[in-house]
């Protein structure tokens, strides 16, 4: 492209009516130009703005609107919602467990027969408080029970959302692991673009970088370790199982991102592959 053609390029404001913010958003998002130009000057010449200050007012209004709406739209897309949901689920579960520990510690100093964990906290809520101190403990225990119930609801929401965002990936990996992979990659699109070797070690970044620095062996698996096909395979074959699983998950993520239709045959292929890995070497 030569410099001569840049004169024909159109600024975002061309053909726009002042105050048409949705039109401006569309022009900003979809327009292109090979090179910048003195847009304030051109806008004034075109009668879009009275002077530079007026142009900047219009530009400010348009860019803020476009960026606000564009960001909100992207944030609402389902894979981003899924990422929020699984992080909230993890936080709620972890916090409930930590608080339950604290409740058990404290309650043990005031009541008889206190059990640890969420169930222990649930039992505390049944106790009759006899003092302001007792009351704080039973109230805190009630919060633990509430938070645990919310974590359960978040898990259900996460599982449902994962199934609609990435049906193939959720079917192969299980919905929670699918959500974790999407969260670690930052979105379904970025996950779909990663090579399967990267997917295989997602969540094991620390070990991977130690390996790349030459200080450790390469990690065989990241968060996919939670999958039965990796965890349930004997240690000598775990690397192969992880590689096979990552390969199929990576294909599933690509189908989910680029086409979205269900491919049940993926599961059969994976099952067969794992079966072969698990039986080889056995006699």
């Amino acid at each position: 492209m030569t410099d001569g053609s840049s004169a024909e390029e159109r600024g975002w404001f061309e053909g726009l009516t002042r105050g048409d913010l949705d039109g401006a958003r569309d022009a900003i998002e979809t327009g292109t130009a090979e090179r910048p130009a003195d847009w304030p000057e051109q806008a004034i010449e075109a009668g879009f703005a009275d002077d530079e200050a007026d142009y900047y007012d219009a530009l400010g209004e348009a860019t803020r609107h476009a960026a606000r709406e564009g960001a909100a739209e992207r944030e609402l897309s389902d894979d981003q919602q899924l990422i929020h949901a699984i992080r909230a689920m993890d936080d709620a579960e972890r916090t409930a467990n930590e608080l339950a520990e604290q409740v058990a510690e404290w309650a043990g100093s005031r009541f008889e027969d206190v059990d640890a964990g969420i169930e222990g906290a649930r039992a505390i809520t049944e106790r009759e408080p006899h003092s302001p101190g007792d009351e704080r403990v039973t109230d805190l225990a009630a919060r633990v029970v509430d938070l645990d119930a919310e974590a359960t609801r978040l898990r259900a929401f996460t599982e449902r959302t994962a199934g609609s965002v990435a049906p193939n990936l959720a079917a192969l990996a299980g919905p929670v692991l699918a959500a974790r992979l999407i969260a670690l990659a930052g979105g379904l699109k970025t996950l779909a673009r990663k090579p399967s070797g990267t997917l295989q070690v997602l969540g094991a970044e620390e070990a991977l970088f130690a390996h790349l620095r030459g200080q450790a062996t390469s990690p065989k698996h990241g968060v996919i370790y939670t999958h039965e096909y990796v965890r349930g395979t004997r240690p000598e074959e775990r690397g192969s199982a992880a590689r096979a699983l990552a390969g199929k998950l990576s294909i599933a993520a690509r189908i989910d991102h680029y086409s979205g239709d269900r491919r049940p045959e993926l599961e059969d292929e994976l099952d067969a592959r794992i079966e072969r890995i698990r039986t080889r070497g056995e006699s």
């Binding site: 910048p36 400010g60 960001a71």
Partner: protein
Amino acid sequence: MSNDSSESAKDSSGNSPALSAGVTYREFEGDSEPQLATRGTPVYGERTEGEWRLWDPRRSKVGAMYEKGLDLRLDGGEKVLYLGAASGTTASHVADFARCVYAVEFAARPVRDLVGVADGRSNLFPLLEDVRTPASYAHVVEPVDALIQDVATRGQAQVARANRRFLADDGVLIMAIKARSEDVTRDPADVFESVLADLREAYEILDTERLEPFHDDHLAVVARPR
């Protein structure tokens, strides 16, 4: 559009010559040493003293560059293209003394905050675009006097070269190179060398400076277009 900060700030004397008009050291309550500051609407809970708000070099690469005494060749009143604006912390300070700032950021979540920052600033223009494809915003951004780049992606020199088209021939490139974004396994000094070599295809390097202790493994670069 009003931008009186760059005008009236020029009378603040006693600063090192490297500081741009509108950037100054002010005494903030509770600090023994004067702190870097610009004048404008506070945005992220930073401390203020009158109209001045503290510019924390630990939260801002450009703030750290001033703190390290680098001459950024900014006089105040420039038109600026800011690549990798994130939530707009640094962009808001630059907008306090620049004529206008085009702030490009591609991640949706920080753009939500960036728009909030821009709401109170008539000269800060947020753009939800990818810095690797300048053609997607060249129909909005005019030629600028300064290109500020702080992007955590591989190919940082490539981004600076691709965006050279926005920069006036006598303009300035101010860039923070993040070594870990290029290659976590290589020694940062080697990474900086290869990014600089790539950068020299399009720019003449004027100054470089490591940003420790404010930012680990970052190299500040001030350059002019070739």
